[in-house]
């Protein structure tokens, strides 16, 4: 389905009561997170979930720190540039970009020492069983407490929010979604051996062929 058609459908969906309730629930979780003591930050990958979440959080706290991790060779440089531009377009003015890899071992302690106690992460229960179980158990991965404002959102809610608020969509979605489907499309690393068992390199070879032998 082309983006124009999909946008129309999602804009219609964004007028429903269900969607309004999901947004209200997300706002309540954000307010709860912000009421905690200590500094807060938003984890931003550049995908649709973190785009929607970042926009929601910035409504409450426009100067919140936005953390983005750069996956290096597994993200084409123009894609990475687009992620940063999108974050700024959404309104992030306190953006911190770190190299991926050592966050959980080293960086997180630096953040803790700096006084960060709360982070907002765009995880959704719908995405995977282990994510649902982690959210239900209220289990943060690090010493910094995680809040998941979009925990009960479906992929429809996320897209509806993105289109209803005219948020920037990463061009990788426009390449992949018409083939993979708007419900299944995800923004992650490309040509990454980690995703070989899901056949991602097969897709990347055709849809991102320019980066295959570059």
């Amino acid at each position: 389905m082309k983006v124009e058609e999909f946008r129309e459908i999602m804009l219609e969906y964004s007028k429903t009561k269900d969607f309004e309730n999901r947004v209200k629930q997300a706002e309540q979780i954000i307010e709860k997170g912000l009421s905690f003591r200590g500094k807060k930050y938003v984890a931003f990958s550049g995908g649709k979930d973190s785009t929607a979440m970042l926009h929601l959080v910035l409504k409450f706290e426009p100067d919140i720190m936005v953390y983005h991790s750069d996956n290096g060779k597994y993200i084409p440089r123009e894609f990475e540039q687009e992620v940063i531009e999108n974050a700024r377009l959404i309104g992030a003015n306190n953006l911190r970009i770190e190299v991926a890899g050592d966050f959980f071992e080293r960086k997180v302690w630096e953040y803790y020492r700096e006084g960060f106690r709360v982070c907002f992460v765009g995880l959704r229960k719908e995405e995977a069983v282990h994510r649902r179980l982690r959210i239900q158990a209220d289990e943060s991965l690090t010493v910094i407490k995680e809040f998941w404002p979009l925990q009960d959102w479906s992929w429809r809610d996320v897209w509806a929010y993105v289109f209803a608020n005219a948020l920037p969509i990463h061009s990788a979605y426009l390449k992949y979604a018409p083939v993979v489907g708007w419900d299944k499309v995800r923004f992650h690393t490309f040509f990454d051996p980690k995703f070989e068992r899901f056949g991602s390199p097969n897709l990347d070879g055709v849809l991102l062929w320019k980066h295959k032998s570059g």
């Binding site: 083939v179 068992r197 056949g199 097969n202 070879g205 055709v206 062929w209 320019k210």
Partner: protein, 258 residues
């Protein structure tokens, strides 16, 4: 205890190739080859270039059953296409590389579709009792996504020995593309015709295959890609004109334009 004789792998394969190499070819001419499919074609790259298909069958012919034990990252191409090639090549004294006169495939559908294939744990392969990790190792479960083109036919243009290529291709080909072992890209019919037009490299101002930019005067789009087979070999990667985009060859190569 078995005594294995140590042999040099490359020497062994090269000697077989040398022994079975066809030394002389007939008249070279333009050829149009059309394959009709009975199943969709699975791809891992947007183009299939015909010299890759020819070399695959030359390997198969030269090595026989030994083809299946070659290391897949062993590039024996320079031994296979030594001297006179079964397809022509675009040469020039100033450009040290040679571009095969074989086009990329023109599918009758440009639409990409996706399918997910699941490989699941099967207990018949497991001879013991107990817990089995299915996230890794030989019992790992896969949910592999593949891209396929729902094409009914593909057309290639090549410059070479008509009789030799007709025999080589039509006798051997049963499928094209990736994952042919699970039924993708099955060839129903193979049609080989003589073609007077030069459509192998540039036709009507459109690049018909990856062409290194040093051959071109003007081009619309370029990218790093392999310009000759094997297309997986990094030593063949150059800045090339992207297939099926506009380009104009330099004056000295005008003879290759159709």
């Amino acid at each position: 205890m078995l005594n294995y004789e140590k042999i040099d792998e490359i020497e062994y394969f090269v000697s077989k190739i040398e022994k079975n190499r066809k030394e002389s070819y007939g008249k070279f001419e333009g050829i149009k080859i059309t394959f009709e499919f009975s199943s969709p074609v699975c791809l891992t790259y947007p183009w299939i270039v015909f010299d890759g298909i020819i070399e695959h069958f030359l390997y198969l012919n030269s090595l026989g059953r030994d083809f299946f034990i070659t290391d897949k990252k062993m590039n024996l191409s320079r031994y296979i296409v030594k001297n006179k090639k079964p397809y022509g090549a675009m040469y020039h004294k100033d450009v040290r590389i040679a571009v095969p006169l074989a086009s990329a495939g023109m599918f009758d559908s440009g639409e990409y579709k996706m399918e997910t294939i699941y490989k699941r744990f099967e207990d018949r392969f497991c001879s013991f009792r107990g817990k089995i990790r299915i996230a890794s190792g030989m019992f790992k479960s896969y949910a592999m996504r593949h891209i396929y083109i729902p094409a009914r036919s593909v057309t290639f243009f090549v410059y070479g020995d008509f009789e030799f290529l007709k025999d080589l291709i039509c006798r051997n080909i049963f499928a094209i593309g990736n994952d042919v072992r699970i039924g993708y890209g099955f060839v129903k019919k193979c049609l080989v015709e003589r073609d007077s037009l030069k459509r192998t490299v540039v036709w009507n101002g459109i690049a018909m295959r990856p062409i290194p930019v040093e051959f071109c005067e003007e081009y619309e789009q370029s990218a790093m890609m392999a310009y000759r087979s094997p297309y997986w070999a990094k030593e063949n990667v150059r800045l090339c004109v992207v297939p099926f985009t506009r380009c104009r060859l330099k004056k000295e190569f005008k003879g290759y334009e159709g």
